[in-house]
Symmetry: C2
DNA sequence: TCAATAGTGTCTCTAAGACACTATGTA
DNA sequence: TACATAGTGTCTTAGAGACACTATTGA
């Protein structure tokens, strides 16, 4: 016997009679932070090209934030999950499919979209730089891959009554042929006896739409964290790559140089060596590796 | 001069004329996984009481999932963020304020709520067990603290064409005076050349409403991860505690025993020793510590 | 031949695992 | 006095940091 509620209805009866209330609902968008690593052109035949970490941005064609640059994204439709919406947007914007995709954070600051109540469920995507080159050209004219630079600007700690406040400001710079964007994002960690609260704020912002500077900063922080203790960076690599390639990808994500010997020991289990080598490099050839899919 | 859009409007003019479209929007709820650690009663005067990890659940009084147990939560209101909604719900349900609160994940599976389109932005909260005892009594009769057990049931790895599939099933058991709930949650990691996808599914479910078994499993995984490399566990401790207390909290969260000497070395920098000691313990007194708020 | 990169060896330092040992208040 | 817990010492193992060294190609 099915249980009945206060009105004597079964669950089926209840659902048949259920009326959606007319209280206000938010729009929910997905915004994608799509990372790829590309190589800069190098003139010296001997030197290796430098790696660059890039993200895809789209120039807005209408208000609000007209002409400013925004993360690719769109609204979640009925009968799809945020994950599916993210995969759909990614396919539409870049043509790629079946790549690394991870939910980042849901941003819901009031007034973050001046039009109406919009929450953003943000996603991180990693795609292989090789694929990107093809796409960048025939993409809509208002899309561009921006080189990412993200570094500590200043930092301080202060003792408050019964706790501490720790602030740090990070400078985010995004550059492409089309524009140079700059924003400063501040992280405030307030520690008291019983709680630890972290808040993020955009201190200054030149050319980035909405609160997207914050979302990008969030994505970079997540990527940096995961690079250190997962094999996530391998999703940015082509099928075959050298360990130096991989090290450069780690370095460009982390924004610092790594020691070769220690790096090779660290990633030894994440890759599988092949019998192939680089050729015509102007120096000693390098062994090519592929991703070890059996990690953990 | 302000930029004008295709219709020759400034941003102000655009926003004044903006009409909210009539496309369908989801409801957005926050669901709280509220953890606390309590002590079991111990009859032997010499033995220390055992610690138990508990979460707060509420028995549903109406359809759907009538009489089943659900996470406390509610809908996000206009003019509040999900974070504020979470803090509000927490205050309403437990009376506590200013505690550790962290966004977990946004769940949006279609059909997760049989009534209508509802996404759940889930939050993890940690409260001090001492505070809870007071509250548990005068709380609504339909709320209860459930002891949590979460352990690996089975695990396997399979080679697929061009990749691997790794599945693991975890058994979640929740017990209180009111009910014994049990669910099995399965994590599937599909690894291919270019991607790594993780999906979660509820394999079986006895007594838990909605997809809350998944949310709880997610919260436990997050808590376990953070216990290992942050000071998050200290948010579950009272002002003064012994290192043995703290070790037991780690053990009950991680579901395994730790070595005393190694544990004490590990947490040495997370705590500050005081000149107070336990008394009348039936054995050697133990030094009391407090949280070091200056950690990193 | 040599510039530039590929790749290895090894010393040090730190942290975790393992386990044995000493210390002490209260029934 | 002895039980149960408090707390320390130290050997081993694993991994990262640091740095020097050898190896190899192609213009």
């Amino acid at each position: 016997m099915e249980p009945l509620d206060r009105d004597g209805l079964t669950e089926r009866e209840f659902l048949e009679r259920y009326q959606v209330g007319d209280y206000e609902r938010p729009s929910v968008a997905v915004d994608m932070v799509i990372f790829a690593v590309t190589e800069s052109d190098e003139n010296n035949y001997r030197k290796l090209p430098e790696k660059e970490l890039r993200i895809l941005l789209i120039q807005r064609g209408g208000h609000p934030f007209l002409d400013q640059w925004a993360l690719p994204g769109g609204f979640v439709r009925p009968n799809e999950t945020t994950e599916q919406a993210a995969a759909r947007e990614l396919k539409e914007e870049t043509g790629v499919d079946n790549v690394y995709l991870e939910q980042l954070y849901t941003f819901s600051d009031i007034g973050r979209d001046p039009r109406t109540w919009v929450m953003s469920c943000s996603y991180l995507a990693l795609i292989i730089g090789d694929l990107l080159q093809v796409q960048a050209g025939d993409d809509a004219a208002n899309a561009a891959w921006f080189k990412v630079s993200y570094r500590l600007l200043k930092e301080y700690k202060e003792r408050m009554d019964g706790g501490y406040v720790h602030k740090s400001q990070q400078e985010l710079r995004l550059s492409s042929d089309h524009a140079e964007l700059k924003a400063i994002v501040e992280w405030t960690v307030t520690v008291t006896e019983t709680s630890t609260k972290t808040t993020y704020a955009i201190v200054s912002n030149e050319g980035l739409a909405f609160d997207h500077a914050k979302i990008i900063a969030f994505a970079i922080e997540r990527l940096r964290g995961k690079v250190n203790d997962t094999d996530i960076a391998l999703h940015l690599m082509p099928k075959l790559f050298t360990l130096t390639d991989l090290q450069q990808v780690y370095e460009v994500i982390l924004g610092k140089e790594l020691l070769k010997a220690a790096f090779r020991r660290k990633v030894a289990n994440l890759v599988i060596e092949t019998d192939h080598y680089t050729e015509n490099a102007g120096h000693r050839p390098s062994r090519l590796y592929r991703r070890n899919m059996e990690v953990l």
